[in-house]
Amino acid sequence: MKRWLTAFSLWVSIACAVEVRMNDLRQIEARGSDVRVFRGDATEPLFGSMVKKGDCVLFNAVLPLVPWETYRVEVKSSDGNWSEKRLKFKPTAPVVPAVAIAPSPTVLPANALKLYLHFSQPMEQGVFLERITLQCQDGSIVHGAFRETELWSPDGKRLTLWLHPGRQKTGVNLNTDEGPVLQESQQHRLRIAANWRSTAGVALGKETVFMLAAGGVDHTYPDPQRWQITAPKAGTRDPLVVRFDEPLDPAMLVSALKLKPEVAGAVTVSPDARSWSFTPAAEWKQGAGVLEIDPLLEDLAGNNLLGPFEVDRDAPVKAAKATTMGFEVRG
């Protein structure tokens, strides 16, 4: 942020006699008795407060000034005359954001509910429906493809993109009226617009296109009995690896599998979300271990260990019989 401050460029017209600058507290400081700050040619001033300090006035905007914007500063000098200057908030070394998708490659069941977009920078919010387009294999646009609710991670870098549940779920009105979002056995293109900006005001700069391959529908709950666990050897720091029979929710996988007793170490989820591995901080000790699985862990179609996403509440529940996996660390 400080870099921006030092790079705050000042456009001073030659006729101006009053000094205006931005100080280290991000206040606009001017020599005079009054100050008003406007964005560009706006007629209404910025919200903020003004205090007098000696022969200077300080303006504190109620929200931080926005990079790339031009501000018009009107200053009243001690002789009562108003003069005008323009400032442009121009950050140096702007960082261009990039976007990736998870899982990748993006092979989805036709009734997939969600996927994740990972950005390298926190992104502007409130525009995702205008910045993301889904196309069918024939190039036609899938209108109303996404759920309108915008769900970002706390750091603003990960967007959970919900394929509209009303269309993906069998028998719901939108599904009946509009059809599903994804077409079985077809390729789709997810286009991310070039003009999507980071919170620092820097756009992606080029369109990003991800290929989405849709398979058949998946109405089966994830079942650890179908997974493979590979135990490491004692005395090594080799990873404990679990391979799934389908891609699971890559975000949930980060915290859904836990070792009992607890062991310090790091979790890695493969890009295709088909495997999970745990590398301990210290060498493995010989003995038996248990991996506990959160029953809420979902596959890409929203099925979890407690049952399929599309469940008939009047019918017997089909759920995974086990939510733990045992393994043996041997010498």
Binding site: P64, G126, G166, L174, N304
Partner: protein, 370 residues
């Protein structure tokens, strides 16, 4: 004497407010994000802060008198707010609107792009937009408990109800819906109770455990305390929340189906001149509306529907709005004043405040309720 009366009024207000917050923080509040605003009594503002999965309660000090009703419509209020925040008007989103019932003053939660900074502004009788200065105010923040695998990251609505605050939320990982209750007095860092909701979706005739509540109101009836919630697609359901234990699942009863292709945005209730009670559901259609000029619309529903108990009037037998007519069945009808409304809140039993979008320009007005 006048000064003495004012003194007693202030003391009374302070004593009463003190009961709403316990050991509040003094000053220094910064709101990181904002998804919903709502008022409790005595100017207590509830802010849903999704970035921290929290509800923040702020004593605004705006405790009346009730003389801040907007005198005349404010044209291009979006332009006015955007200028105040130093951006173009297309770079702001009004995330929510709440009317303080104590004063009639209107509060708007605004998000600015690209930096996602948020600000609460208020509009009084004169139509002037004023930023809410959080600096000197008392407040508490309560973080909502997360699921076992992920945290709640979107709080869809928040509301005050006598001795507790309700909030509804969804997760950004698993597809799940939660209702939270926080006891009053609200205490900084307190723990909320959480329960999940099971609802009958009239449209596809199935029970749902995961559909998120988009908006709700607390509702008292002879049967007890309910959360009346609206879901996408669009059933209106009620959940009995008396004596509910944290972690439990509460089974909702679907009362009305407004029709598919709708996303509810706001709910409020009011009594008309005859004393009849209505629930107003403000909604966004995915497609063009059959009966009005905008995808944004609203309907009112007789509260009689919500108080129905008989199985032949609920769940699979719940009343369905006649989507081919502006009215019908009796007690369900479109509210014309809500066409184009992007935000709405009740001002009184005769009026609502409407933030209307006309070709990208936002205006603020008071609209009569039918």
């Amino acid at each position: 004497m006048k000064a003495l009366c004012l003194f007693f009024l202030i003391v009374t207000a302070f004593v009463a407010s003190a009961a709403l917050l316990e050991s509040p923080q003094q000053g220094g509040l910064q709101i990181q994000s904002l998804s919903s605003l709502s008022f409790g009594p005595e100017g207590l503002l509830l802010v849903a802060e999704p970035a921290s999965a929290s509800v923040v309660a702020v004593q605004t000090g705006d405790t009346g008198p009730k003389n801040e009703r907007l005198a005349k419509p404010v044209a291009d209020i979006g332009g006015q707010i955007a200028a105040g925040l130093g951006v173009k008007k297309e770079d702001i989103t009004v995330r929510d609107l709440a009317v303080n019932p104590a004063s009639g003053r209107i509060y708007l939660g605004v998000q600015r792009r690209p930096d996602n900074a948020v600000l609460i502004v208020s509009v009084g009788a004169d139509g002037k937009v004023v930023p809410l200065n959080l600096g000197p105010l008392s407040w508490v923040r309560i973080t909502l408990p997360g699921g076992t695998a992920s945290k709640v990251t979107n709080i869809t609505d928040v509301a005050f109800d006598k001795d507790r605050v309700f909030a509804t939320g969804t997760c950004n990982e698993e597809f799940a819906s939660r209702i939270f209750t926080i006891p009053v007095p609200l205490k900084n860092g307190a723990t909320a109770s959480v329960f999940s909701a099971e609802t009958y979706h009239v449209a596809h005739r199935k029970w749902e455990t995961k559909a998120p509540i988009q908006s709700f109101i607390p509702h008292q009836s002879k049967e007890g305390t309910f959360v009346v919630g609206a879901f996408a697609c669009t059933p209106v359901a009620k959940f009995k929340v008396d004596d509910i234990q944290s972690g439990a699942q509460v089974k909702g009863v679907s009362m009305v189906e407004l029709g598919s292709g709708n996303r509810p945005l706001d709910l409020f209730s009011y009594s008309d001149k005859s004393g009849k009670e209505w629930l107003v559901v403000h909604t966004q259609r995915f497609k063009q509306n059959a009966f009005g000029p905008s995808k944004m619309w609203g309907a009112r529903i007789s509260m009689d529907y919500l108080d129905a108990k008989a199985p032949e009037k609920t769940n699979e037998n719940a009343a369905r709005r006649d989507e081919k007519e502006p009215k019908g069945p009796e007690g369900i009808e479109i509210v014309d004043a809500l066409f184009g409304a992007v935000q709405v809140d009740k001002l009184s039993d005769t009026e609502a405040v409407v933030l209307r979008d006309t070709d990208g320009t936002l205006s603020l007005e008071v609209a009569a309720l039918p």
